[in-house]
């Protein structure tokens, strides 16, 4: 038994290693192409230049502060979006006709570039954090709504019957059975919603050149700090990917402990 797993492990490295190797190979090809002059270093600087400018971002451009600001806004958006999204998802689950009428539209909006709605909020709130958070809320709602409805729809009927046989009030039926039974699915929606919020927040920051990582990237671009701009973009991507894996780990951990 142990020898089988041992040779298996030798043949197939863990996914994290493969992912890293793929990334390293990509950078190597890019570096080589850049040095050989196939791509203009001005349009697409080599990775080495980009990595070097990280230091500048940390020391002079306030990368950490921008990062904290963006994430605070994204978390605020996801928090507000969760409250509204769970309530809307519950309504779509509860009112069957509303569920049939709107679920398809919500699903469609999840694949639409909602970030383009930003002028609307710019008019309502002005060029400030409120617009950015509002856009984050809009972005994170579709997955939260859909997952809430899905989770509530799929609660096993026998669990609801237990509650009914014990004579639970509708209120207790919801809080003691339906909601906890649907919670893993709802959590999954909130996690995806948070990622959508980050994307929207950075996008709007970039578009209205206000606060956080989006503004930083926009500024660097305007100043033709091209390696710095790419370093900023790379940073956003890396942080998002890390965030995706960490929250995924938290989710499986929460599920397995139950």
């Amino acid at each position: 038994m142990s020898t089988i797993t041992h040779t298996g492990a030798l043949r197939r490295p863990p996914p994290i290693v493969t992912r890293f190797l793929v990334l390293a190979a990509l950078f190597a090809v890019w570096e080589a192409a850049s040095r050989a002059g196939y791509v203009s270093a001005f349009i697409l600087p080599p990775p080495s230049a980009i990595f070097q400018s990280f230091e500048m971002l940390f020391v002079h451009e306030g990368l950490v502060a921008a990062f904290l600001r963006t994430f605070a806004e994204a978390f605020a958006a996801a928090g507000i979006g969760s409250l509204i999204g769970v309530a809307v998802g519950y309504t779509l689950h509860r009112v069957k006709i509303a569920g049939r009428a709107f679920t398809g539209w919500v699903a469609a909006s999840a694949s639409a570039p909602l970030v383009l709605l930003y002028p609307l909020f710019l008019v309502i709130f002005g060029r400030n954090s409120a617009t950015i958070v509002a856009m984050g809320v809009v972005g994170c709602m579709p997955p939260i709504i859909l997952k809430t409805k899905e989770g509530l729809d799929n609660v096993r009927p026998v669990l609801l019957n237990i509650g009914r046989s014990f004579g639970l009030t509708p209120w207790k039926q919801f809080w003691m059975i339906q909601f906890p039974a649907a919670l893993p699915t709802i959590f999954n929606g909130v996690r995806i919603g948070l990622l959508f919020a980050i994307i929207n927040v950075v996008g709007v920051e970039y578009l209205i050149v206000f606060g956080g990582l989006g503004q930083l990237i926009s500024d660097l671009g305007d100043r033709f700090e091209i390696p710095g701009m790419y370093a900023g973009i790379l940073f956003v991507i890396l942080v998002s990917v890390c965030f995706f894996f960490i929250t995924e780990k938290i989710e499986t951990w929460l599920l397995s402990s139950k």
């Binding site: 026998v158 019957n161 237990i162 009914r164 014990f166 004579g167 003691m176 402990s257």
Partner: protein, 266 residues
């Protein structure tokens, strides 16, 4: 004396897009206070349907269900149910599962945990209080479900194949336990089972149902002394009851089997 539970001409047709499925032909039955009734019949004959009607989970049916002489619609607080499917709450520990009906009824925490602990002990699960259902076997989970319903202290207990997931030994011991509680509390019990020996061991009367649409084929009075336990099972009279019930049941069960094979080949 009015029967505790009266089932009067209860029948049920399920309506599906492909037409109606007649699950139950009219069934009538009076159950006395403290009586233990078993219902035995081939798969698909409407046993669970009957239990769900009596328990108030199915509200559209023909006929009437009366508790203490009064017609009921919907769930009745004196009726507790144990279901055929897996029904523990996966997000609650064993003890919190058992304490569930007490928590819903607003019993203080200390008190409800004390009672839940006693019940877990009764079903042989002391030491497993803090485990989640996913960490326990199917049989252990079913025992939690039974303890949870008992915590509700129902006067009438409906159980749908509660022992089906258990091994034979656990089944016998747990049957003894349930019988002991039932006799202590003078609980009126309706048990659905596939197991003839179990039905004879536990019951005052065994109802044999026909293949679908279910009706009552025969009612067998089990005239064995009480208090009973699984020790009864070796006896001669016991064997005679089991043989007689199997005689009746065999034809019905083979109809079910034929239909299943017909569906497979045709």
């Amino acid at each position: 004396m009015t029967p505790v539970l009266r089932i009067k001409d209860v029948a049920k047709t399920f309506w599906t897009p492909n037409g109606g499925v007649r699950a139950l032909e009219p069934i009538s039955l009076d159950i006395r206070q403290g009586e233990f009734i078993s219902i035995i019949g081939p798969s698909g004959c409407g046993k669970s349907t009957l239990m769900n009607i009596v328990g108030g989970l199915i509200e559209e049916y023909e006929g009437e269900v009366l508790v203490d002489g009064a017609a009921v619609r919907g769930c009745h607080k004196e009726i507790g149910m144990v279901f055929q499917e897996e029904s523990t709450f996966p997000w609650r520990t064993a003890i919190d599962n058992v304490a569930f009906p007490l928590e819903a009824a607003g019993v203080p925490r200390h008190e409800r945990l004390k009672r839940a602990r006693e019940l877990l002990k009764l079903v042989g699960l002391d030491g497993f209080e803090q485990r989640f259902p996913s960490e326990l076997s199917g049989g252990m989970r079913q025992r939690i479900a039974i303890a949870r319903t008992l915590a509700f202290q129902p006067r009438i207990l409906l159980m749908d194949e509660p022992f089906a997931a258990l091994d034979e030994q656990t089944r016998l011991l747990l049957g003894d336990k349930v019988l002991q509680i039932q006799q202590e509390l003078n609980q009126t019990t309706m048990l659905i089972t596939h197991n003839i020996a179990e039905a004879v061991q536990l019951s005052d009367r065994v109802l044999i149902m026909t293949f679908r649409p279910g009706r009552i084929l025969r009612v067998v009075e089990i005239d064995l002394p009480r208090p009973r336990s699984s020790k009864l099972m070796g006896g001669e009279k016991f064997g005679q009851y089991v043989a007689a019930i199997w005689e009746d049941l065999r034809d019905e069960a083979s109809k079910g089997l034929q239909e299943m094979e017909g569906a497979r080949t045709g």
